[in-house]
């Protein structure tokens, strides 16, 4: 088994008779992976299983070659920013981050240096000496993130990490995720904000009712969905002519001219055939400015694969 993968092998978890996740088989490569699904779909259970906070009822999990029931090894390479908004009583932000590093067995100098470095990364230096109890929700979120990254883990698991953050901090935090992924780390994020997931993810795992509905790179997942026509937006100079030409082909099921008459939205069941067709149209004199897929984003995937069945996101 490769040591730079996170592997779920037929993993199930039940809470009494309630299903957490069922028959999950996943292989997650390094990079940013987003877990997407409605409330109760099993995102947090999946994260808790990876970190040993809950145990699998069936199956096995390996995080870069380490089983979750070996915390002494696992948490040297893994940082988990949970959704639990609770802290040990009386701690300042700095003490909170520093305490976790002391538990690594580090000497106090090294622990303090890393704690300050992590706090700096989340822009909380000014508030670090204040009690966490006096922090705003966004600050609490950031100090948890600082704690998760302070020991420079190879696997970073973040449960709704962007909750409560203002737009500026959100973009800084997303930058931080990218930084972690670029150095070869796994960054596993659960989020409800689909356009952000879209922006940051190298791959997605779609969950519904405790089952993995789809996994992989967003475009790859989209291509696997054959029962939904692909939507493509084309900006061109002769949209009406183009519409009439493309309707001659069976795989084109809909063509809608854009209100500004400068483009057309096409729905086709065979995207690769359609792209070949476009080449011909260009040769035949239609001037095409841009071609862009309109539905290979997480939002569309979510709608196609989970839709109303999944409940509210």
């Amino acid at each position: 088994m490769s040591n730079d993968l996170i592997v779920f092998d037929n993993v199930s978890r039940f809470y009494g008779e309630v299903l957490g996740v069922n028959r999950v088989n996943l292989t997650i490569p390094p990079g940013i992976t987003s877990l997407v699904g409605p409330n109760g779909s099993g995102k947090t259970t999946l994260m808790n299983l990876m970190t040993g906070l809950v145990r699998a009822t069936r199956g096995s999990i390996s995080v870069r070659g380490i089983a979750p029931d070996q915390p002494e090894q696992l948490f040297r390479i893994l940082g988990y920013c949970t959704q639990f908004d609770s802290f040990p009583r009386g701690y300042t932000g700095f003490q909170f981050v520093n305490a976790s590093l002391m538990l690594q067995g580090w000497d106090s100098k090294k622990a303090e240096a890393n704690a300050w470095s992590a706090i700096e990364k989340v822009n909380l230096v000014d508030a670090a000496k204040r009690k966490v109890a006096a922090y705003s929700k966004g600050m609490r979120q950031r100090i948890r993130l600082a704690q998760a990254i302070a020991h420079e883990p190879e696997v970073l698991i973040l449960d709704e990490p962007l909750n409560g953050l203002d737009p500026l901090v959100r973009s800084e935090t997303i930058g931080l995720f990218r930084e972690q992924a670029e150095r070869g780390a796994h960054v596993i994020v659960s989020s409800h904000v689909l356009h952000e997931v879209d922006m940051i993810s190298d791959q997605v795992i779609l969950l519904a009712n405790g089952y993995v509905v789809a996994e992989g790179a967003i475009r790859g997942v989209r291509e696997e969905i054959s029962d939904r026509p692909h939507q493509i937006v084309i900006r061109c100079d002769k949209p009406s002519e183009m519409a009439s030409r493309i309707f001659q082909f069976d795989h084109v099921v809909e063509a809608r001219i854009h209100p500004d008459f400068q483009g057309i939205l096409v729905k086709t069941t065979n995207a690769s055939q359609f792209h070949k067709l476009l080449n011909r149209l260009v040769i035949e004199g239609i001037n095409i400015e841009t071609i862009a897929p309109a539905d290979d984003d997480v939002n569309s995937l979510y709608e196609y694969l989970i839709g109303d069945e999944g409940g509210k996101l």
Partner: protein
Amino acid sequence: MTGSALWQRQILAIVSLEWRKTMFARRGLWVYALAFLPAILFGISMIVIQRQQASQQQVLVDSPNAPAVSAAIKPGITINEVTKLLGDSKVPYTRFSRGRKRDFVRYTDGTNTWELSFRDGALTGKKNRTEARLGESILAFAGVFQYFFLRLAIFFGCVGIFMNLFRGELLDQSLHHYLLAPVRREILMIGKYLAGLVATIAIFCTSTALQFFFMLGPHPSREVSAYLNGPGWGHFFTYLGVTALACVGYGSIFLAAGIIMRNPLIPAAVILFWEGINWFLPTMLKKFSIIYYLQSLSPVVAPLNSDIPEPLKLLVTTAAPIPGPLAVLGIFGVAAVVLAFASVYVRKLEINYGAD
């Protein structure tokens, strides 16, 4: 860094994070109240006795011939004759009983304090009001230590402190911070246990020391130093040791209960009952309790609790105390077995705050 050096460093880190939290938790204030209640009572008793002694001393000073005349005061003697014998006693007082006036004169002959009561001017009663002697105070201390301090104060103090080490953090939803650290669960448990021990031993040993010195406080320094230079210091350190061992024994049990049971008050009640009926258990069964070993180690045999009704006293069985080293080993052995049992559970511990 690996192996035992890492574990030691992690245990130290856990102890340093936990002990302050444990000692200065607002919700633990009642533990302090319980721990220091006997010390406060011994302190109040010391102050009262010292004031009484001061007043007696005053009487003695005013009536220098009191020892000589003490024997001459017999029933029937009049208050005027007594006053004449004693000189002007400084502590005469009057009380009314069933509408009839009664006069009292209290005096000391240097060893005993006497209270004389007069009705219609004639002596009707002569009571010895001598304050507790050191020997009686030592017995009283042994009684309070064994019947209240060990059985209730330390017991419930350990319930409050050790059960919260895991269960309290589950309720606060903050235990996951520890479980997400690269620390073996057993090491975490040992670290928390030691932090609990630091806190309980500091609290309860301080209380024991205060009680002991408050108990000695009112007695003449000559008697006290004779006692301390004899068995006294040995008693003192043995009481401190027994206090610490009680924390070791009860602490391990309640730490385990906090890990294993969702409602740890149930095992606390069961253990309290078991320890409470220890007097009435057959000798063999007595050995399966913490209090048996602690009582074996106590330096002074406490008088049987006078609150026990006479018929029940017949059921009380006495077991020969086991030798000190065996008793100490017994308590450490119980603690080790209980912690080993709890470690199986702590490895399986899951974070499911909704269910807790």
